[in-house]
């Protein structure tokens, strides 16, 4: 019994130690809620409070099927955040500045920079990006200037069936980036071992879901304010939907 208790305690301590890192790995993506398009903040099945984070969203953009801009805005609807538009959208994108976080010697993350926590173990700024395709596009997804880190499909059109391979390219500041870490299903398999992009910025993976797919990519870029943070962690999602069988 004592051995079991020790194991449980060890597990809890390990989980507690890992928790800050997990919290740091949150992202944004779009998903359908009650037939409306919602902006989600979280990781895995954790769908966290996006309403309180709305001020952190720096931009939201909509596009029609020809990639022309469509006016969109975000609005709080109860505890969730919806994309509001008077026109249908073929794609929507958002950028969120999650601010500067530092991990102190005590292992606690605080929303402060190195200027306020000089002995921090890590200080970083975290940026979140999201592009969503409600229907599979018939033309290539363009580079979007606001998306400093962006996942774009290379395979065009994307497969309509799960299990088929698809190649994606990760762009940093519009250019392919090597070594970005890509997860093929950020919502349903958040702890998977990520794939690394090659020299051409691509990875090939099997499309996982006959429904919502959220591909996530992480790339750590240099700091633009070394006095406050050591690095900028960029996390981008590309979400797309494979259609289900006709009703």
């Amino acid at each position: 019994m004592r051995k079991v208790t020790s194991c449980v305690l060890a597990g809890l301590i390990a989980a507690a130690a890992l928790a800050p890192a997990a919290a740091d790995a949150h992202g944004i993506w779009f998903a359908q809620r009650a037939k409306q398009l919602a902006l989600i903040y979280g990781v895995g099945a954790d769908d966290l409070d996006m309403v309180k984070r709305m001020p952190l969203v720096k931009s939201v953009a909509g596009f029609d099927g020809e990639w022309k801009p469509v006016k969109v805005a975000l609005r709080a609807a109860g505890p969730i955040v919806l994309v509001d538009s008077d026109k249908p959208v073929a794609a929507v994108a958002a950028v969120m500045d999650n601010g500067v976080w530092s991990k102190g010697k005590d292992g606690e993350w605080q929303k402060k920079g190195r200027d306020e926590l000089p002995d921090a173990v890590i200080s970083e700024r975290t940026m979140k990006y999201a592009v969503h395709l409600p229907a599979l596009p018939s033309t290539p997804v363009p580079v979007m200037p606001d998306q400093t880190l962006q996942v774009v499909p290379v395979t065009s059109p994307l497969p309509a069936q799960l299990g088929q391979p698809a190649t994606f390219r990760v762009l940093f500041q519009g250019k392919p980036v090597e070594g970005a870490l890509v997860k093929h299903d950020y919502v349903n398999d958040p702890d998977q071992e990520p794939l690394k992009t090659g020299a051409d910025g691509t990875v090939t993976l099997k499309v996982r879901n006959q429904g919502l797919n959220v591909v996530g990519a992480t790339f750590v870029g240099p700091s633009d304010d070394k006095a406050r943070y050591d690095k900028v962690e960029h996390f981008a999602t590309l979400s797309f939907v494979l259609p289900h069988a006709p009703e």
Binding site: R75, S85, K87, P88
Partner: protein, 130 residues
């Protein structure tokens, strides 16, 4: 496993339920027109578009029940030859929305935006008019 006749009705019921489940879960109502128009779906709302002499009428239903148009608003955008034309939708009787004066030439594309005024939820559908 020993045969147990009393179990078959239960198994048959479960099998029937499983067979029916997808269609029950997916059905949002009949897609057959009831006013001689064309039917499409905006979100979960079945929309029937009817071209009339003095404009366009839309009839709304959900799971075969009429959706009162009093709580709805929206727009109708007609893309035909020339620039797109947007017309506001106004509630009519029962489940009818009206775009008085809207002209829809053959071959036009009509995009409907429905606004639920209680929830502010918007839904869209597009008709290709023959």
């Amino acid at each position: 496993m020993r045969a147990y006749p009393g179990r078959w009705p239960l198994l048959a019921t479960l099998a029937l339920a499983a067979a029916l489940a997808p269609s029950l879960a997916l059905a949002h109502g009949s897609m057959k027109p009831r006013h001689g128009g064309t039917v499409s779906e905006a979100g979960e709302t079945v929309v029937e578009l009817v071209r009339e002499a003095d404009g366009i009428a839309l009839y709304l239903s959900d799971e075969d029940e009429p959706v009162p148009s009093a709580g709805m608003a929206g727009t109708l955008t007609v893309k035909g030859p020339g620039a797109p034309v947007e017309v506001a939708l106004a509630p009519g009787a029962a489940n009818r929305l009206e775009a008085k004066g809207a002209k829809v030439p053959a071959g036009a594309e009509v995009t409907v935006m429905l606004l639920d005024q209680a929830t502010r939820a918007k839904s869209f559908t597009t008709f290709a008019v023959k």
